[in-house]
C-alpha cells in the first residue's frame, strides 16, 4: 500500500464551534428587532433572517458520459461478484462459517490489509468540491470551472462504484430520497444578520434539525418555498451548531468548522461528521444550492454505511464495503491520529439543495430555554479491531491465487 504524505490540514485556523458552552439564546438577538423589516428584493428575509431546509444531498462525484474519462477501466465489483471470485461454484461443498460469515467478519471488522481485488479509481483531472487547505497539491483536482486545488479524495473512492454514480447509483438516489422522506434528516440552515442576499459581511449560520415535512409540488418531485418548520430541541440538540459566514455576490461561504448532521438511511438513526467543513451556497430568496466540503471522519462514514445498508443492499450498486474501507484508509488525507499518525479523515464534498422555510417563533423561544447543548462527536470505530495479520490469514489460499492471477 502506498503511504501517502500526511497533511495536517489547517487545524489552527479551524474554529470548532460545536456548542459545548454555547448559549443558544444569543441567536435571538442576532436576528434584529424589527421582524417586519425585509431585505430589498427578498421578501423572505425577515429582520435579517432567512432559513432553508435541505431537499437533496449527494456525495459529489464528477462523471463523464459512459465513464470514459473518469473510469476507463470500468467500475468496481460488488459483494456478489467478489464472493463468486473467492468461492467459485466448483462443487467443493463449502461451509457457511468459512465463507459467508467470514466475509461479514471482514466487513464489520475491516483492516488495512491489502485488498483481494484491484480497486478502480477515477482517473480524470476534474472533481467537484472545495479547496479545503488553501493549497494546490499534486493529488488535488481541478473543478469543472477551472478552480485548482480541489480537495475531494472521497471522489477517488466512490467515483467508480456504481452505487454512487448518477442515474445508476443506488446510494446516490436512495440516500438523497431519504433526506426528504425521513424526518430524522430534516436539516435546517438559518442565516442571521443578513443585510442583503447579494452581499452581507457578517452572517451567523445556524444549523438545526427541523420537525416538519416539506411542502412538495403536486407531482411530489419539487419543493415549494415558504413552509414552516419547528426546531427539534428534544432529540436534535446535537445538531444545533453555529457557523460564521459571509455573502459575496449572492454566494454564502462559511468558515471551516466541524459539523455533524443527520443522515439516516433505511430507518436507522445515523449521522455524518465532517471536520473543517465549509458551505458554499448560491442564494436566492426561495432556494439555496451548492457544495458542502470538509474532511469526512472515516469511522463515522463507514459506520453510517454499514449500519444503514446490509451486504445485500450494497450488492445492488456493486458496493463492496471492505474494499471501499481500504480505499478510504489509503486515500485519507487529513486529521492524523496523534498516536499512530494515520489520517482519520478524507477530503470530501457534498452537493446540496435547499428550499426556503420559515422557522416558527415559538420554536425559537424554546431554543432560548436551552442553556447548554451536548457536543456531537465522531464515532471512533470498533473498540477491538482485527489486525492486518488476522485478515491476511483469511482465505489465505484464495488470496494467493487471486494475487497471482492479478
Amino acid at each position: 500500500m502506498a503511504k501517502r504524505t500526511m497533511r495536517r490540514k489547517r487545524l489552527g485556523l479551524i474554529a470548532v464551534v460545536l456548542l459545548s458552552s454555547f448559549h443558544v439564546a444569543s441567536t435571538n438577538s442576532q436576528s434584529g428587532g424589527d421582524s417586519a423589516s425585509t431585505v430589498k428584493g427578498a421578501s423572505t428575509v425577515k429582520g435579517g433572517t432567512i432559513a432553508f431546509a435541505l431537499t437533496s444531498l449527494r456525495w459529489a462525484t464528477y462523471l463523464t458520459p459512459d465513464g470514459q474519462v473518469d473510469c476507463p477501466d470500468g467500475v468496481n465489483d460488488g459483494p456478489r461478484e467478489q464472493f463468486a471470485a473467492l468461492f467459485p461454484g466448483d462443487g467443493k461443498g463449502r461451509a457457511l462459517a468459512d465463507t459467508q460469515l467470514q466475509r461479514e467478519v471482514q466487513n464489520w471488522f475491516p483492516t488495512t490489509a491489502p485488498d483481494y481485488f484491484k480497486f478502480r479509481e477515477p482517473r480524470g483531472p476534474h472533481a467537484l468540491g472545495l479547496n479545503l487547505d488553501g493549497k494546490t497539491d499534486p493529488e488535488d483536482f481541478t473543478s469543472p470551472q477551472g478552480e485548482p486545488g480541489i480537495d475531494n479524495q472521497l471522489y477517488r473512492v466512490l467515483g467508480c462504484i456504481n452505487s454512487y454514480r448518477d442515474a445508476q447509483g443506488t446510494n446516490d438516489s436512495l440516500n438523497s430520497l431519504e433526506i426528504v422522506s425521513d424526518g430524522y434528516n430534516r436539516l435546517l440552515v438559518e442565516l442571521n444578520g443578513v443585510t442583503s442576499l447579494e452581499n452581507s459581511d457578517n452572517v451567523e449560520v445556524m444549523l438545526y434539525r427541523g420537525l416538519d415535512p416539506l411542502y412538495t409540488t403536486a407531482d411530489g418531485k419539487g419543493f415549494l418555498p415558504g413552509g414552516s418548520q419547528r426546531i427539534d430541541v428534544r432529540w436534535g440538540q446535537k445538531f444545533i451548531q453555529r457557523l460564521k459566514g459571509k455573502i459575496v455576490n449572492g454566494v454564502l461561504t462559511t468558515e471551516p468548522a466541524d459539523v455533524a448532521f443527520p443522515w439516516a438511511v433505511f430507518a436507522l438513526p445515523t449521522d455524518e461528521y465532517l471536520r473543517g467543513a465549509s458551505l458554499r451556497l448560491d442564494l436566492t430568496a426561495t432556494s439555496a444550492e451548492g457544495l458542502i466540503g470538509g474532511f469526512a471522519d472515516i469511522e463515522t462514514w463507514y459506520f453510517q454505511l454499514m449500519s444503514s445498508q446490509s451486504t445485500h443492499c450494497q450488492s445492488y450498486g456493486q458496493l463492496a464495503s471492505m474494499s471501499l474501507y481500504k480505499a478510504m484508509r489509503r486515500l485519507a488525507d487529513g486529521y492524523p491520529d496523534p498516536k499512530t499518525g494515520a489520517n482519520t479523515a478524507i477530503s470530501s464534498a457534498l452537493r446540496a439543495t435547499f428550499t426556503q422555510v420559515y422557522i416558527l417563533p415559538e420554536s425559537k423561544a424554546e431554543l432560548a430555554n436551552i442553556k447548554t447543548l451536548q457536543r456531537a462527536e465522531p464515532y471512533r470505530g470498533p473498540p477491538n479491531p482485527r489486525s492486518v495479520a488476522e485478515e491476511m490469514g483469511d482465505f489465505a489460499d484464495v488470496r494467493a491465487t487471486l494475487t497471482k492471477a492479478d
Partner: protein, 457 residues
C-alpha cells in the same frame, strides 16, 4: 411548544422515574371472547397481551408464509413445512450469498419440529370458530388457526412465556418468523393495540397514538374548544353503545355536548395529538399533563437500569448510561430457525460481536452483569448463567459461568464503542442492519423509525 419545556428540563436527569417506563401494578389487557378448541385457553402475557395457549399453558404460534429476498418460507394454509428432518445447507433466501453452504454445527442442529413441536389434535377433533385441523405427512392431525398450522416453542417453559416469537409483524429483512396467536383485543371499531417495548399501546386503526389528560376527571372531558384544536377528541357514533362483552366495563362514551360523544377508556376521555407526525407517536406525552394510553404496561427493567436520550428518542441503558442492546438472529435455512437464544447456535453471534473470536466478543459486546443476589423481576427480565467462552446457557456451578441480565430469556449487552450516554453506535451492527444476525439498541421511545418494539424472538 413551550408547554413541553418543563418536562424536558426535568427529564434531563436520566432515571427510570422520568422515563416512559412505569410501575408494574397495572391492569392486564382484556380480550374478546372467541370460540376455542377443547383445552385451549387464553393466557395473559407480560409483553404481548392475551395469547392462546395449549392445555399446559404453553403459548401457541403460527409460521405464516413470508416473501424473502430470493424466495418464500413458512406455512401455507392447510399444510405444514416444519418437518423432523434437520436442514443441512443454507437456502440462499437472503442475497447476496448463494444457497447450498453447509450450516454451522450440523452435529447439534435440531429439526424444525424439535424447536417448534406441532400442536396436535385428537383424531376426532372438530373445527370450531377459526380453528380447524390439517393432516401432517405422518398422518397425525395438527390444529390450525385461520388455516395455518399451530405450534408451541421449545423455548417457552411457563404459562405466559412468549420466548419463541413476537406478536407484531416486523418488516424489512427479518426472517420468516413464528408469531404468537391470540384473541383480538376488546377495543371498539376505530381502535387497535400495538405491542411496544413499554407496553401494549392504544392507537387508532390508522396507527395514531391515543392520549389522555390528567386534567380530565372520570367520564368527563375538561378539554375546551381551544384545547381541542391541539388535542382532537376521539368521537364515537351518536347512537353507539359500548361493546358487548367488556366484562370490566373498560370502554364508555361520554357526551361532550348535545349529541357529540367521545370515547373513554377506563374512564379517561381519549384524544389524538395533532402534532404527532407518524404512527405510535409519543410526542404528546412531552406536554405536561398528557400521556399515552396503554391497555397494559410492560414490566419495568431491574433496578439500576437507566433511560438515556439519543438523537431519535430514548434507549434503555445500564447504570453507567451505556445503551443496552439485544441480539437478533434467524438463519438462512429453509426452516428459518432462530439463532439468538443461548440454547441455540452461537457461530453467527460470535462473528458479528467479535469477528469469530469469543474474547474479542466479550470485550466488544460485554454482557450486563447481574449481582450475586440479583433476583428476576418478571418473566421478561431474568437472570441467567452463561459460559462466556461459548455463549451458551449453563448451570450456575459451571466453571467461569457469568450471571447476566436477560430480556425475553436472552442476554442483553452493552457496546464498548459507545463512549457517552445516548450513544447507539452498535444499533444495526451485523447482517441486515442487525435484524438477522446483529444487534439493535433497546429502544423505549423512537420518534422517527418505530424501533421501540420488544427485542428478538
Amino acid at each position: 411548544m413551550p408547554r413541553g419545556v418543563g418536562l424536558l428540563a426535568a427529564c434531563i436527569v436520566a432515571t427510570l422515574a422520568c422515563s416512559p417506563l412505569r410501575a408494574d401494578d397495572n391492569p392486564k389487557e382484556v380480550s374478546r371472547a372467541v370460540p376455542l378448541p377443547p383445552g385451549v385457553r387464553v393466557e395473559a402475557t407480560e409483553l404481548d397481551g392475551p395469547v392462546f395457549a395449549d392445555p399446559a399453558g404453553k403459548t401457541l404460534y403460527r409460521w405464516p408464509l413470508r416473501q424473502l429476498r430470493n424466495g418464500q418460507a413458512g406455512d401455507r394454509a392447510g399444510s405444514s413445512e416444519c418437518t423432523d428432518v434437520p436442514s443441512v445447507v443454507s437456502a440462499g433466501l437472503m442475497s447476496p450469498y448463494p444457497g447450498g453452504l453447509k450450516l454451522p454445527d450440523l452435529d447439534e442442529r435440531l429439526a424444525c419440529t424439535q424447536m417448534w413441536p406441532p400442536f396436535l389434535a385428537d383424531a376426532d377433533a372438530q373445527p370450531v370458530g377459526k380453528w380447524s385441523t390439517i393432516k401432517r405427512k405422518d398422518g397425525s392431525l395438527q390444529w390450525a388457526y385461520e388455516g395455518l398450522p399451530v405450534y408451541t416453542s421449545y423455548l417457552d417453559q411457563l404459562p405466559g412465556d412468549v420466548f419463541g416469537g413476537r406478536a407484531d409483524k416486523r418488516g424489512g429483512d427479518t426472517p420468516a418468523m413464528r408469531a404468537p396467536i391470540g384473541p383480538p383485543p376488546d377495543v371498539p371499531p376505530g381502535f387497535a393495540v400495538k405491542t411496544m417495548s413499554t407496553g401494549r399501546l392504544l392507537v387508532t386503526d390508522k396507527g395514531r397514538s391515543v392520549y389522555a389528560s390528567d386534567r380530565d376527571t372520570p367520564q368527563k372531558s375538561n378539554c375546551d374548544a381551544t384545547c381541542a384544536d391541539t388535542w382532537v377528541p376521539l368521537l364515537g357514533p351518536a347512537y353507539s353503545v359500548v361493546p358487548q362483552g367488556s366484562a370490566r366495563g373498560e370502554w364508555s362514551l361520554i357526551e361532550r355536548s348535545a349529541g357529540i360523544k367521545q370515547w373513554a377508556y377506563r374512564g379517561q376521555p381519549l384524544y389524538e395529538y395533532r402534532l404527532d407526525t407518524g404512527s405510535n407517536g409519543f410526542r404528546g406525552s412531552d406536554v405536561p399533563g398528557w400521556h399515552n394510553v396503554y391497555t397494559q404496561r410492560a414490566p419495568s427493567p431491574p433496578p439500576g437500569f437507566t433511560v438515556q436520550d439519543t438523537t431519535a428518542g430514548q434507549v434503555l441503558a445500564d447504570q453507567h448510561g451505556k445503551t443496552i442492546y439485544t441480539y437478533f438472529c434467524g438463519d438462512d435455512s429453509q426452516d428459518q430457525l432462530g439463532c439468538d437464544h443461548p440454547r441455540q447456535e452461537q457461530a453467527y453471534r460470535l462473528v458479528v460481536c467479535g469477528g469469530g473470536d469469543p474474547e474479542r466478543c466479550l470485550q466488544t459486546f460485554p454482557y450486563v452483569p447481574a449481582a450475586q443476589d440479583a433476583k428476576p423481576t418478571s418473566r421478561s427480565w431474568s437472570v441467567m448463567t452463561i459460559d462466556p467462552r461459548t455463549g451458551r446457557s449453563v448451570d450456575a456451578q459451571h466453571p467461569g459461568a457469568l450471571r447476566v441480565w436477560a430480556y425475553r430469556d436472552r442476554p442483553v449487552y452493552t457496546y464498548a464503542g459507545d463512549r457517552r450516554p445516548g450513544d447507539t453506535f452498535a444499533n444495526g451492527h451485523g447482517e441486515f442492519r442487525g435484524l438477522r444476525n446483529g444487534f439493535r439498541a433497546f429502544w423505549l421511545r423512537d420518534d422517527f423509525f418505530n424501533q421501540d418494539q420488544p427485542g428478538p424472538g
